[in-house]
């Protein structure tokens, strides 16, 4: 049963008080990229909360998805500065390379794309995060290169 251990381990690490709920949810997302129905139920059990309540918390946060996500999650900033400075080119590059638009996951399950709000890199817009890592001053060309790196 290595399965259940991932939640148990997270709980061991962060505790099962209510204040630890977010760290545990974050930990699972870090490892599995999303919160599956089973994980949410296991977490509810550990915290003695109803599954609905845990679901309610998770869905509040953009970075705690409850739908399956690809191995790598690309978060492209859609807010004003990036929008002005060429967000479209970034999305175009991703569309051309991976054939996905925001909200979708590539057919091979390697990449998911999210449009997110300002990621605090506005002085070097447009910007995006791949998983946790920021990429700045994006152009069509360098986005293509970045994706290539993740693909190899």
């Amino acid at each position: 049963m290595t399965e259940i251990n991932i939640v148990k381990d997270a709980v061991k690490k962060h505790g099962r008080k209510r204040e630890s709920l977010m760290p545990v949810l974050q930990e699972i997302v870090k490892q599995e990229n999303y919160l599956s129905e089973e994980r949410l139920m296991e977490i509810a059990k550990e915290f003695d909360l109803s599954s609905a309540e845990v679901y309610g918390v998770a869905t509040f946060y953009s970075f705690l998805p409850v739908k399956p996500m690809g191995e790598n999650v690309i978060k492209v900033c859609q807010t004003i500065v990036c929008d002005m400075k060429g967000k479209e080119a970034v999305l175009d590059a991703i569309k051309d390379k991976l054939n996905i638009v925001p909200g979708q996951t590539s057919a091979d399950g390697k990449f998911s794309l999210m449009a997110v709000n300002c990621i605090g890199q506005c002085s070097n817009a447009p910007a995006m995060l791949v998983n946790d890592k920021p990429y700045i001053n994006l152009t069509y060309e360098n986005v293509v290169k970045i994706i290539d790196e993740y693909q190899s």
Partner: protein
Amino acid sequence: MVIDIKEKERKVNSHKKRVNLIFKEHDIDKLIEKVLKTEPEKIIDEIKDSGLRGRGGAGFPTWIKLKGAREAKSDIKYVVCNADEGEPGTFKDREIIEKKAEKILAGMMAVAKAIGAKEGIIYLRAEYNYLIDGLQKKIDVFNKKLEDMKFDFTVFIKSGSGAYVCGEETSLLESLEGKRGEARNKPPYPAQEGYLGKPTVINNVETLVYAALIMLDGAECFKKLGTMSSKGAKVFSVSGDTDIPGIYEIEMGMTLKEFAELFGDSNTKAVQVGGASGFCVPRSKFEETVIGFEGVPTGGSMMLFSDKRSMYNILHNYLEFFVEESCGQCTPCRVGCQQLLKGIESIKAKEKSKKYIDELLELAKNMKITAKCGLGQSVCNPFISIVENFREEIVY
């Protein structure tokens, strides 16, 4: 072009209002010792004397929060550093965290000493997760140092998960407690009932650093800068249509004219001061507008727009932001944001008459006085300032 940028930078950096407090080298050990030796009341007095007001946007006098939390009766109290920095166009806290985390920690320590807190939490937005490792190392050193000095105060990091509203202090507390980040009713204020119901002081990253510097060099170093109601300096995040985007620490009280001359050019049509929830100031009002609490307040976000930008697109983008980032609990904000967005779209598509914009302005004003928290209350800032100053771009 290259020379132009160099020249522009030189001009900014040699401006008489350009200062360097936050990113300057400071003797952190000396700072910590100084805090250790200062009596709690003295800390509060010094901060009061300095005139420091919150740098997170609301600009609340910092000492009043400290005093409130100090007087609140409780064995357990908390210091929270608000590093959620979600306001579009703001990235100064990130830079401070990357470069001067020690000063943030010293500032938290000063607050802890002032109010009698033993735990400090840094609420770091998920978008800055990549900073955690570096920050944690510095925290470990700091915690160890305090332990050695037998000062009972420990700092932890807690991460957000992508929700702008969690920068609002009571939403932040809810999030820290493992809940949905829905703003609380106030009163009670966090200084009375904060994290886990205990007295809590929540401060912006930059506020904490200034507090630390005031501890080290005294109130004078701070209050000698700025204006009557806006003391000191502030770190500005400059972005948009400028050749020299970035972080600049500038004395309070600059007019937007000076600002636009330094960072913009003759094509600068407007500056959005204070991010999406701030005010849009058109060129015609640059001269009369002072950056500060007496004019346009800002958490530091300064976005420049040149005349090639469509104000409709800008407003549209802001409204999309609020539609998504509202916590959704209260009617004026949840529905109001959607109506404002739908409303300008419908006017543009000629599904609604031009007059409908007046209904929307009324709506925005009502959101300001009825929304539960600062998010919904401030949507009217960009909405009204853009519509009133650029009506012809919103209503064709």
